[in-house]
Symmetry: C2
Subunit: 303 residues, 2 copies
């Protein structure tokens, strides 16, 4: 099974701290390297993580607030300086085309531009033979998407079932995993008899929203839910600030994880006021959803 | 004497490295905190340096290339989030008004804006009772200013000359330093007899230019010359790249320091290719101008 690797390039929110850059998350799966949001300084985080940004294939923008996007001009420029040859696909909510056009107009000379293609997306917008990605509108103070990455279910050969069949080691056998019956030595082998269905993995990204039904729908049955938890619910101003600025508290992120039956929750996008007090956020989430973790800059995990 | 303090918030060039952020330099003098250029990530460098960006009074932009300006949107936003109350004065070459206007249009919602005033400058553009700043057009591939900060010369009381005069400790005496004669106990004290002229300090900033006469003129008699040295002259491609991209080599920066009779040279704005090889740049400069130094991120010095 190919691993899906998640690297947190930044885990802070509006104001960066010594240890947390603005938000940015990299998902690697096979040849795909998909960046979710790109706060200021993301290109340097790539450098520190020793990941070549030219490996990028796509960028998913949740919304246009600065802490999610101010790293784009520098990243575009550095890709051009490094002779990025691919067409970079950029996805986001309504307004993304104008937003990206303005970035290039304002900041990037025509002589120093990469090839790119901007897509304003809602619902399922990308499907390959291996995975699909769906955008769910969330409820922030501007157009804002959450994203669901879903690996496709796969047929796998049940080695126990075929080990006594004495089959030759021929490429033909792999057709079984495509749902096709095969004939070997005049004997038909039915794929249904020797394969099992391996469920694809689901990873959901909820970055900037207030608690809303779509957040739970998006996260449904996720193997991993990555959710903002800008504020601590159980604090003097936390729940009020979350309401005023349309963010989640750690408690609400955990409620989404619980209601959506996610398997694991990683909290991110913390207000600077909780710098070095992240354990209070984690404790609050764990009370509702025990399998919760705090993200740190440069933390990598494999799903 | 009030110190003039220089803090290097970033010392890299187009592509940041693990230890060098893009260029940005802070000059503090009395109540003034003047930022020269603002590469991406500068607001986080402020945070790491434990300097409150709300202390900023002015920003001098040398030119619009990304490594000198991509930190502006995030800095403007963070100042607004921190309730910056002053009017931020922003200076730069022709085109700065449109450039700053585009940044606000593209990136900063109207509800989250600081007060600011943009000045397109050439020649002496700012004079206070303590200092003046002059912009010198340099020779880069776009409009580009170098800046000269000059403290004003001051009359100082010569303590040796007045110590036997038995003068009372009254505020009147300070008038002597304004070039005025005073009368104490019916005796006239002429300022010329009891004061000396203390020369003001000169700090010059040359960030992005090819070698040109104005660079030498700007740096003339500087107490401190801070100059880009993106490339190493004595290397396979260094002098060619410097020529092609209109930058200085370490050797050329040292030549400017020598010809201008600067007292000290600090090299900065290094290409990432010299990461951990900065000594080669320093050695090249020292051959021509011995009092040369390499800048590092967060290095602070008092002049």
């Amino acid at each position: 099974m190919n691993s899906i690797s998640i690297t947190f390039l930044g885990t802070g929110s509006a104001i960066p701290t010594e240890k947390r850059n603005h938000i940015s998350i990299l998902l690697n799966y096979k040849e795909e390297n998909i960046l979710i949001d790109c706060g200021e300084g993301t290109q340097r985080q790539f450098r520190k993580a020793k990941i070549n940004p030219c490996r990028l294939t796509r960028i998913l923008i949740t919304h246009f607030h600065g802490d999610h996007t101010f790293g784009l001009p520098g990243l575009f420029q550095t890709l051009a300086l490094n002779s990025y040859q691919k067409t970079l696909h950029i996805y986001g909510p309504n307004g993304t085309k104008k937003f990206i056009e303005n970035i290039f107009q304002t900041f990037i000379p025509k002589s120093n531009r990469i090839k790119f293609d901007v897509h304003e997306v809602k619902g399922k917008f990308l499907e390959t033979k291996d995975f699909q990605i769906t955008a769910f509108p969330l409820n922030h103070d501007c157009p804002c998407n959450g994203y669901l990455f879903e690996e496709k279910d796969r047929l796998r050969i049940d080695k126990n079932k075929i080990k006594n069949m004495n089959l030759p080691n021929i490429p033909e056998i792999s057709k079984l995993t495509l749902g096709k019956n095969i004939k070997i030595n005049n004997k038909t082998i039915k794929f249904k008899n020797v394969t099992y269905l391996e469920k694809g993995r689901k990873i959901s990204f909820i970055l900037d929203t207030k608690l809303c039904p779509n957040a739970i729908k998006l996260a449904k049955d996720s193997d991993l839910l990555i959710a903002e938890s800008t504020f601590l619910d159980n604090s003097e101003n936390g729940s009020r600030l979350a309401k005023d600025y349309m963010h989640l508290t750690a408690k609400q992120a955990a409620e989404i994880a619980k209601k959506s039956k996610a398997k694991q929750l990683i909290l991110t996008h913390f207000s600077q006021r909780y710098d070095n007090k992240e354990k209070t956020l984690l404790d609050e989430a764990k009370k509702i959803f025990p399998n919760s973790k705090i993200s740190e800059d440069f933390m990598t995990l494999e799903i």
